[in-house]
């Protein structure tokens, strides 16, 4: 309810005042276009680096991903179970679908546990150090996307090894 209202006001504000004001107010938020359930274009027009993405996804105090998700490479007892495993995600979802899910999962499921990583924060009591900032910046999101698309499901190899 609150979210819908906020969304409506935001849309209104963007429609009337354009992007210039938005950029000065929130330089850390890259604009993007949602098509269906995907963001097909890389944020800020730059693709990421899969190796940096693999490193970032394991940083539990920065990206936080492995607090909730399991990864194919991780040690089982240290993996989160609050969310679906990301093993094989590159076979299940397109690059653009992965991008939107990291940028703003709540657009697809308003009740989701997953934080919106690159959206205007509208939560209450945000600690001063994080106010007005997205959880991750555009380049970091692109590194994660570049890594996750490489996670293909390989059932045959998995069995033969």
């Amino acid at each position: 309810m609150r979210r819908a209202l906020v969304g409506a006001t935001l849309a209104l504000a963007c429609g009337s005042s354009g992007t210039a004001a938005q950029e000065t107010a929130e330089p850390e938020l890259a604009p993007y276009v949602v098509t269906g359930d995907a963001i097909t274009e890389p944020l800020a027009g730059r693709r990421g680096d899969a190796a940096l993405g693999q490193q970032l996804i394991g940083e539990r105090h920065r990206s936080l991903c492995i607090l909730c998700h399991a990864l194919p490479s991780g040690a089982a007892p240290l993996q989160g179970t609050l969310a679906p495993s990301l093993a094989g995600i590159g076979s299940r979802l397109t690059e653009g679908q992965i991008r939107l899910r990291i940028v703003d999962m709540k657009r697809l499921n308003p009740e989701s546990l997953m934080p919106s990583y690159h959206a205007r924060p509208d939560a209450v009591r945000i600690a001063p150090a994080w106010q007005g900032k997205p959880v991750l910046d555009a380049a970091e999101i692109e590194h994660l996307v570049a890594y996750l698309v490489t996670l293909k499901s390989e059932p045959v190899e998995g069995v033969s090894r």
């Binding site: 309810m1 539990r60 936080l64 492995i66 607090l67 909730c68 007892p77 240290l78 993996q79 989160g80 179970t81 609050l82 709540k106 009740e111 546990l113 934080p115 919106s116 924060p121 509208d122 939560a123 209450v124 009591r125 945000i126 600690a127 001063p128 150090a129 994080w130 900032k133 959880v135």
Partner: protein, 262 residues
Amino acid sequence: MRRPAARLLVLAPLALALLAGAAQAGDIAPHERRSGSTFMAPETQAMQADDTGNPGMLWVLQGAGLWEQKAGASGRSCADCHGSAASLRGVAARYPAFDAASGKPIDLSGRIRQCRSERQGATPWPRESDEQLALTTFVAHQSRGLPITPPAEPRLDPYRETGRQLFTSRMGQLDLSCANCHDDNWNQRLAGSAVTQAHPTGYPLYRLEWQGIGSLQRRLRNCMIGVRAEPFAAGSEEFIALELYLMQRAAGMSMETPGVRP
């Protein structure tokens, strides 16, 4: 003219509460309630159960000494007024309580600080100081094994309701509520940690990660920092409201102080 308006005011929070309720997976069924200790590894459970190995007992001992120690302008000890520690049995199980003088709820740590300043005429210790934690742990330990019994005090009800609202409201940069984890996902793991049901049964408790004893409010502060929210101030009305709600939610469960946690 005044009536419909007044009724609207009453109904608005109700409607909000109902909306919020519908969005949640809901409360934990009474027969499913489990203390945080039941989620721990067997070695950690054994450490809590054995008084000679439970590090929290060091603070219980220190607290026993402070109980007898004369302090402040009055030159009196806690024991001079209260008598033996046995008189404290059951006290911690019914805190936070209603403080008639201030007309507000007060938690156990707050009551001890109040006794120290108003009755002993001494400077109260800071909430997270070793002395304050030791005395609070000593007092709470006297209720070990007793069921949590929140007072049926109607003047506490609005604060319990505030606590429930805080528990179920999303907050912080990660936009998560306590209930998102502790009501809806207590059987899951956050990385390597069991999420647990957030029952206040063991506090103050010894946490291996802290390498020391800590209060319930310190634990709540940690969870708020975890979701990147600005924590409530120590001893604030918000924290005491949350404590009241947590004790209500755990009514009937056994006190374990001093607990041990990973």
